[in-house]
Symmetry: C3
Subunit: 131 residues, 3 copies
Amino acid sequence: MIKMNVKTGRKEELVDITARISAALAETGVADGVCHIYCPHTTCALTINENADPDVRKDLTAGYRDIVSEELPYAHAEGNSTAHIKSSLTGVSLSVFVENSALCLGTWQGVYLCEFDGPRSREVWVKAVKG
Amino acid sequence: MIKMNVKTGRKEELVDITARISAALAETGVADGVCHIYCPHTTCALTINENADPDVRKDLTAGYRDIVSEELPYAHAEGNSTAHIKSSLTGVSLSVFVENSALCLGTWQGVYLCEFDGPRSREVWVKAVKG
Amino acid sequence: MIKMNVKTGRKEELVDITARISAALAETGVADGVCHIYCPHTTCALTINENADPDVRKDLTAGYRDIVSEELPYAHAEGNSTAHIKSSLTGVSLSVFVENSALCLGTWQGVYLCEFDGPRSREVWVKAVKG
């Protein structure tokens, strides 16, 4: 697999990693198949969403913050239970098609690391399978 | 990959695409492996859920509507930020097993396109990997 | 594919199946590739999250319960619509990398069956693809 480091700069944000995933895919040499993307953390996640208007990313962060209450009597002593919940809701594995050595995203799609408990240094893993 | 068009008829609905995914899988000729299903949009998504009682689909739509507030001061000018959030929560990639040339779903499972900002003409992409 | 049975003991709980997934992976003999994990049900799901402090699992269950309202006028007569919604939000398919015959999880990650409508006898399916 190919491992990349992603630095996040805020407590919560979506970091566009599309170009880096494409670069990692090129390294694999797989021209036709499936590109699997994996996030080895439990307080951030991966999503695919709008790549055009950066306001969508802010709205995603705000929407998640509204959905997952900070007010519950969480048991986990680290105080970041909402980040664990957001990570579980969003998911840590993605599978994107590969054709002609390119990542097949929709016109308006980008790949994002969703930071829910930053700022931190994160990893994203990439592996491509022929087929 | 195989691309199919899915017409949605309402602002929000779950469209059963199980039979069409099975037909696409048959086209691939893969008898044993994994069938990857991908949604190239940012305001709809894919889910696997109950295939028997159509009321469950209505409840899923109603549940999502309750979870993602329309009342936040969203920044995105198109006014469909809730659809982006629902798409991110639900996800756009699925992987289902293939054996004996058939999609291996659980007894009560069907594959659904979740429209959150319709009605629209949508695409769903299918690719099978041997293994 | 390899099928395993998972008994759940409560209405809602996260059951750690990491060791059993690793054992199933060993059975497949795949040393390098992707391990796909699939849940053939519609009222439970799969997630990857914290493997250290068991309080996180409790907080995940509590968080999901807070997010998905029991108070909506759901149509589905079985009365378990919230479990269907939680399953759809969480997802039923995961893809984890395999290297040196081992499941590549992050340091703090475990694999969990999320029971939302137990106690029941559940199945989890595993299939590995080389690559």
